[in-house]
């Protein structure tokens, strides 16, 4: 286990790279929260999809299949 539970600097850096804006103090936490929700949804959908396909576990294929929908779901 890494010492930090989430790479805060990385989230900040990534968002900053995409926006080019500074971020207020807790925004990154909320972003990370949103990200965890996203990942949860993604994994869930992928699990459902791969189960439907009859695969064991979550396959990359299923992830790729569902991710567009999930991304869209999280689009503002």
């Amino acid at each position: 286990m890494p010492p930090t539970l989430y790479p805060r600097a990385q989230v900040k850096k990534t968002i900053k790279a995409h926006t080019g804006r500074p971020m207020s103090k807790n925004a990154d936490i909320m972003i990370f929260l949103n990200y965890t929700l996203f990942l949860q949804e993604l994994v869930r959908e992928a699990a459902i999809r791969s189960k439907q396909a009859g695969d064991r576990g979550i396959t990359a294929k299923s992830v790729r299949k569902v991710r567009n929908n999930v991304l869209r779901k999280f689009k503002a």
């Binding site: 949860q40 869930r44 790729r64 869209r72 503002a76």
Partner: protein, 577 residues
């Protein structure tokens, strides 16, 4: 009870007389009406609402317990009609049965005994009840007759209104021509089949008759999630969903890109000419492109070969030489015939794209109509970037007009560069493998460049894995494989990209430079992550580790104070000034 009614009727006449002469209150009207109606006589047959009838006649819709059962009991029969004369029964059951039967015979229900009022359904009674409810000394409302008249008039006018404006005769045929109007209020054109988009004048009688599987409009994710996306996709459809047309017929391969493919292709050429942004040009065209390239990082197994491709009959290895030929052609006659080049592009490029695509998205489809559905969705979803890229404007150095100006240099660069298409084709080639060997094994060190030109590294795979493992455990025990992790990391990057754009847009809208928590919350609200049931805090409590939760909890208070202080200081300064 009729006596009391008469009494009241006797009492009321003064009111009535007043009412009839000058002012008519509702009460008076009703009273008068009830006076006109004949006084109720006990009807032979009881009203329907009066309750269950006795006598053991079974009424189908009303549940009668006692009479029926009593009729069956040996004592029930004889006691039915002579109950009044008989002596009181001894057993409690008999007593109760008798009483109930008697009640059922005499009274329609409990109400009668309780209130002592006649409960019959005569209009007179109803009117009297109504009049009782109304206050006796209500004054007539003055404008009421006018209102009545006006309302009556309005009712009479209605047909006139309908007659008045000449209605447009309904069109019984489908307005096919209007379907593709850009300014139609449908964000997504209603017809989303695999059929290619053809101009109206083209004779597409046979094509239109083809019917592929479609998604119901209600299930269409494009309809479900927001208009903005579909706005984009509307444009993207124009750019060409290659999967569509090439599936159908070879003849459309040429025709379709001719619509607006030139710009698109030009853009592509430009993008690839730029050596530094070659990758981005690719990813710009397709979000999936980046991952195509990246997939090599995660192992020797290439999805391109792994997964069956159904729709593309042209094998990759055959396609590669074609590329080379084209490049040679370009070298021979680089700038004399840019048009020809474009045409070549038109013919070849889509196929290349198709070959690039399948590993990512489209090859996953399991053929047939299913493929059609997914193809639609996937290719649509793939596309957002290309439209935005030009707005990003960094990697696009020029458009068609510019191309002739600096065509030489670009083409030179283009020739030297192994085109991205080629690269994707040469997945097995040693060149590519060396390319990847140079890269660090871990994704996190891989530097990417965002749309606005800032570098960022791909998200930490370890974090993603840990999180995803946590989520996946609830579904299945199996661990997340390398490939899956790669896909997840890729999705993560896309997510952050999307998030970044959204945040930027929100901050812009708020007129701020700074991205604030409220922006994120607004986004989450819009994506229905935060609802009335799930507050940001409850979500945080559910999802986030305790540290972060604490921070989230602790922060807001001091933040507010700080802001206040700042404001105060500013005000003071202003005052001092």
């Amino acid at each position: 009870m009729s006596a009391s009614a008469r009494k009241k009727a006797r009492i009321s006449p003064p009111h009535i007389s007043e009412g009839t002469t000058a002012t008519e209150t509702l009460y008076a009207d009703l009273h008068q009406l009830s006076g006109i109606l004949p006084t109720p006589t006990t009807p032979h047959r009881r009203a329907a609402s009066a309750g269950p009838t006795s006598g053991g006649r079974p009424t189908p819709n009303i549940v009668i317990r006692t009479p029926g059962t009593a009729a069956r009991t040996p004592r029930g029969g004889p006691t039915r009609h002579t109950s009044a004369r008989r002596n009181a029964p001894t057993t409690p059951h008999a007593i109760r049965a008798l009483r109930e039967r008697a009640n059922a015979a005499r009274t329609p229900g409990l109400h009668r005994r309780r209130s002592g009022r006649v409960q019959r359904e005569t209009p007179r009674d109803m009117l009297r009840d109504l009049s009782r409810v109304l206050a006796r000394d209500t004054r007539p409302v003055q404008p009421s007759p006018q209102d009545r008249r006006s309302s009556r008039n309005a009712a009479l006018d209605l047909p006139d209104v309908e007659d008045g404006p000449e209605l447009v005769a309904p069109r019984l045929s489908m307005p096919l021509g209007d379907m593709y109007d850009d300014d139609s209020f449908h964000d997504a054109p209603p017809r989303r089949s695999l059929l290619p988009y053809l101009p109206n004048d083209v004779d597409n009688g046979t094509v239109q008759s083809l019917e592929f599987g479609r998604r119901a409009l209600s299930e269409d994710p494009r309809m479900m999630y927001g208009t903005r996306l579909s706005e984009r996709f509307a444009d993207l459809n124009e750019l060409g969903i290659e999967g569509e047309e090439y599936e159908i017929d070879g003849t459309f391969i040429n025709r379709r890109p001719g619509l607006d493919g030139e710009e698109l292709l030009q853009e592509d050429i430009e993008g690839m000419d730029d050596t530094t942004t070659e990758m981005r040009a690719l990813t710009g065209r397709r979000d999936g492109r980046m991952s195509d390239v990246n997939l090599g990082v995660f192992g020797e197994v290439d999805d391109e070969d792994d997964e069956p491709t159904f729709r593309f009959t042209i094998p990759q290895r055959i396609q590669a030489p074609m590329q080379d030929e084209r490049l040679e052609d370009l070298q021979e006659e680089p700038e004399e015939e840019p048009q020809e080049e474009v045409e070549e592009e038109l013919e070849e490029e889509p196929q290349e794209e198709l070959e690039e695509e399948p590993p990512e998205e489209q090859s996953e489809e399991e053929g047939g109509a299913d493929a059609g559905l997914d193809g639609n969705v996937d290719s649509d979803e793939e596309l957002p970037a290309p439209v935005e890229d030009p707005t990003g404007g960094i990697e696009i150095t020029g458009w068609e007009s510019d191309q002739e100006a600096d065509g030489d240099a670009d083409l030179q660069a283009y020739r030297e560069e192994v085109s991205a298409m080629d690269r994707s084709l040469q997945t097995q080639s040693p060149e590519r493998s060396t390319d990847h060997d140079q890269r660090p094994r871990k994704l996190r060190k891989e530097i990417k460049t965002s749309r606005i030109g800032l570098d960022y590294s791909s998200f930490n795979a370890a974090t993603v894995k840990r999180l995803a493992n946590g989520f996946a455990k609830s579904h299945s025990k199996t661990k997340i494989s390398k490939d899956t992790l790669a896909a997840l990391v890729q999705s993560t990057d896309w997510f952050f990209e999307q998030m970044g754009e959204d945040l930027k847009a929100f901050a812009d809208h708020g007129g701020r430079k700074m991205i604030e928590e409220s922006d994120v919350i607004a986004i989450m609200k819009r994506s229905r992550q935060i609802t009335s049931n799930s507050t940001p805090f409850s979500l945080a409590q559910k999802m986030l580790p305790r540290e972060l939760l604490q921070e989230l909890r602790m922060e807001p208070a001091p933040k507010l104070k700080r802001q206040k202080r700042k404001r105060m200081e500013r005000i003071e300064e202003e005052e001092a000034d």
